[in-house]
């Protein structure tokens, strides 16, 4: 019995409030064990986040009393301690992985302090790239989705700082397309080779969904960029082609995993892309474009919601 059934029975019966409460306690509400695990992991996540944020703030405050070697020494020492703890076999595997994540963040701080102390004159992307290179082994060894996520965010930052500071004009023009492809490649890798990203478990849906979002967002950004150019045909064909490949793969993956998340993500992008194309190509004479867009949204969202709900129904019956 689930909450929905309890509500339906309560609605059409004289079920007493005490008995409804008992049924909810038994079937819906979390057990003491769930609560304790929730509080336990929340304490660790909050504790480590605060501690690492404190370290970042400490070095951001640029305390003049500290000698440069002390600054670097504190950070290197902290990294060594954290990594050493992560090697301690008696610790729970999850804690060891979290410690490696902390070490990865501290590595970034170390690079920032290093750049500040020695005024290396390096571009920002070089720092991010070095950060990525140095933490790569930990990411591969830990097989921890949170650390992977941090790494992917870092990869995206590296890409955009590179494009802004060191990339050629041609690469700059294709920045969104290339980024969409890179994020999509990681998504494909995570679905085809999940063992690279997680140990002994099915790859979590939240992780895949978060990686899918930038892939889709970037092809929409590429399309917006293409529509803003004068030579619209080739850039538009390119971004639409990329969108088609990414969309088809996500759709197919959603069907295999029986998860509507991917369909909805692709659906939203279709609505948005359609609106942008209508806005660009349908002549707005006598506001025709606006009327056409309204009809398009009403029809496309309506049709897609029917399709999505039918899929959900079909999967539930299976």
């Amino acid at each position: 019995m689930n909450r929905e059934q309890i509500h339906i029975i309560a609605r059409h019966s004289d079920w007493s409030s005490e008995d409804i409460e008992k049924a909810l306690q038994k079937k819906v509400y979390p057990s003491p064990r769930s609560w304790q695990l929730f509080i336990k992991w929340a304490c660790l996540a909050i504790g480590l986040s605060f501690f690492v944020a404190g370290i970042v703030f400490f070095f951001a405050s640029n305390w003049q009393h500290l000698h440069k070697f002390t600054k670097l020494g504190i950070l290197i020492g902290a990294i060594i301690i954290v990594v050493s703890f992560s090697l301690y076999p008696k610790l729970e595997p999850l804690i060891r992985k979290i410690l490696l994540t902390v070490a990865s963040v501290l590595t970034g701080v170390l690079f920032a302090v290093f750049g500040q102390v020695y005024q290396t004159g390096a571009n920002a992307y070089e720092m991010f790239l070095a950060w990525m290179a140095l933490t790569m082994v930990w990411v591969i060894v830990a097989k921890f989705p949170v650390l992977w996520l941090l790494y992917i965010v870092l990869g995206n930052i590296t890409w955009f700082t590179y494009v802004a500071q060191g990339g050629s004009g041609y690469i700059y023009d294709l920045r969104f397309e290339i980024n969409a492809i890179l994020n999509f490649f990681i998504f494909v890798l995570a679905t085809k080779k999940p063992a690279l990203f997680i140990e002994d478990r099915k790859i979590p849906n939240w992780f895949l969904f978060i990686i899918a979002i930038p892939a889709v967002a970037m092809y929409v950004a590429a399309l917006i960029n293409a529509l803003a150019t004068t030579e619209v045909v080739l850039p538009l064909a390119r971004s639409l082609g990329i969108g088609l490949v990414i969309g088809s793969y996500l759709y197919d993956y959603g069907m295999k995993r029986k998860s509507i998340l991917y369909h909805v993500l692709v659906g939203l992008s279709i609505v948005l892309v359609g609106m942008l194309l209508i806005g660009r190509f349908v002549d707005n004479y006598a506001n025709f474009g606006l009327y056409f867009n309204s009809i398009y949204v009403l029809v496309s969202v309506g049709a897609m919601s029917i399709f999505f709900l039918r899929l959900v129904k079909k999967w539930r019956h299976e």
């Binding site: 003491p32 336990k40 909050i46 609505v271 609106m275 309204s294 949204v297 969202v301 919601s305």
Partner: protein
């Protein structure tokens, strides 16, 4: 036809078998999904905005009377259509039409600069009607949210900071009842209970809206200024008391029945609430997080969690300390939580509850 749960016939409860079977079957035929709901709500907002834009570009907005007439037509026909709609697509169109009507009526009232004591009650009434006469999730949710938004806007327009305090406090109390006394709510309002989920989510979002837009906590440039000294305390004391009560009430459900463990958890939460007494958003969102987790309300947990992270970030950002002092405070807080983790881990291992 859907089956009744096996225990029901022997339970001694008097029930309407046909109605239960019919509703169970209906749920089976039209499944609900949170992600699809979000998609449809985005679609409704987009299409309503486009429909109102059409009225604007046609120049209809120049006559508030016609805007009002079209608004009333859109609202009534949308509501009637929604009640008769048998498919998702018609329902989506009906709600879009209704929202467009609601928007047009609001526009007409704003153009006329209608007395707030007439305009806001009418808008609130329209929201209530759309909740009472609706089905499913989306319209009652939008109705609940718009009802609270109208009331919050009304209080803000009238510049009544103490009334805002009272209203936000009442919203917290309502949420406490919805989560901690779900059984009582279902037994007391059997007809209205079909809207339990949308009303609950609408209230969770209304509290966040109140905190982040209608009170000085915490969006600079959007939030109003502090009306008087220690204004935060008017919010934080009620929400802290409610938060403390919730932890006290839920401590048996958390497995902290008596003795030192219960005292420890109450002391920790007490200290935390005292330390953040000048940041009402923290006690408020912590309360939301506890309640939504207790109610197994996934959407609520995500919203409350994100709001809590934001509230904590703003708390540290707004601290009038040097960056160096802030860093020590952050590291110290981190160490306290890590110690909490270690102690709890030991407690769980000693009591064998990890298994």
């Amino acid at each position: 036809m859907s089956k009744l749960p096996e225990w029901l016939p022997q339970s001694g409860i008097r029930y309407d078998e046909a109605a239960i079977r019919q509703e169970l079957e209906q749920k089976k035929q039209v499944p609900e999904n949170q992600v699809v709901r979000v998609f449809i709500i985005v679609g409704i907002i987009l299409s309503s905005v486009l429909l109102v834009s059409i009225l604007l570009v046609l120049g209809i907005h120049e006559s508030p009377t016609i805007m009002l007439a079209l608004g009333v037509f859109g609202y009534i026909s949308g509501l009637l259509w929604h009640r008769r709609a048998r498919t998702e697509v018609f329902d989506f169109w009906a709600i879009s039409l209704l929202v467009m009507g609601y928007g047009s009526i609001t526009y007409a009232f704003a153009e006329w600069e209608l007395n707030t004591w007439i305009a806001f009650p009418i808008m609130a009434l329209l929201s209530v009607v759309s909740v009472l006469f609706s089905f499913g999730f989306i319209l009652p949710f939008l109705g609940t949210l718009s009802f609270y938004t109208v009331l919050l806007t009304w209080i803000a327009v009238e510049k009544q900071p103490l009334l805002m305090v009272l209203f936000v406090g009442l919203l917290h109390l309502e949420l406490l009842v919805l989560y901690l006394a779900e059984g009582k709510f279902l037994a007391s309002f059997r007809k209205l209970s079909r809207h339990f989920d949308p009303i609950r989510l609408g209230t969770v979002m209304a509290i966040q809206l109140a905190l982040f837009i209608f009170t000085p906590f915490y969006i600079p440039f959007v939030s109003p200024e502090q009306p008087f000294a220690n204004y935060e305390l008017y919010y934080s004391i009620p929400s802290s008391v409610l938060c403390f009560y919730t932890v006290y009430y839920l401590s048996p459900a958390m497995g902290f029945f008596k003795g030192p463990s219960k005292m420890a958890i109450l002391s920790i939460i007490g200290i935390l609430l005292i330390l953040t007494i000048y940041a009402p958003a923290i006690s408020s969102t912590l309360l939301l997080l506890l309640l939504t987790y207790y109610g197994r309300h996934a959407t609520g947990v995500v919203l409350a969690g994100l709001a809590l992270i934001y509230a904590i970030t703003m708390y540290y950002y707004e601290m009038e300390f040097t960056l160096l002092a802030k860093s020590f405070v952050l590291m110290g807080t981190g160490l306290i939580f890590i110690t909490g983790f270690v102690l709890l881990n030991r407690f769980l291992k000693n009591h064998g509850e990890e298994r």
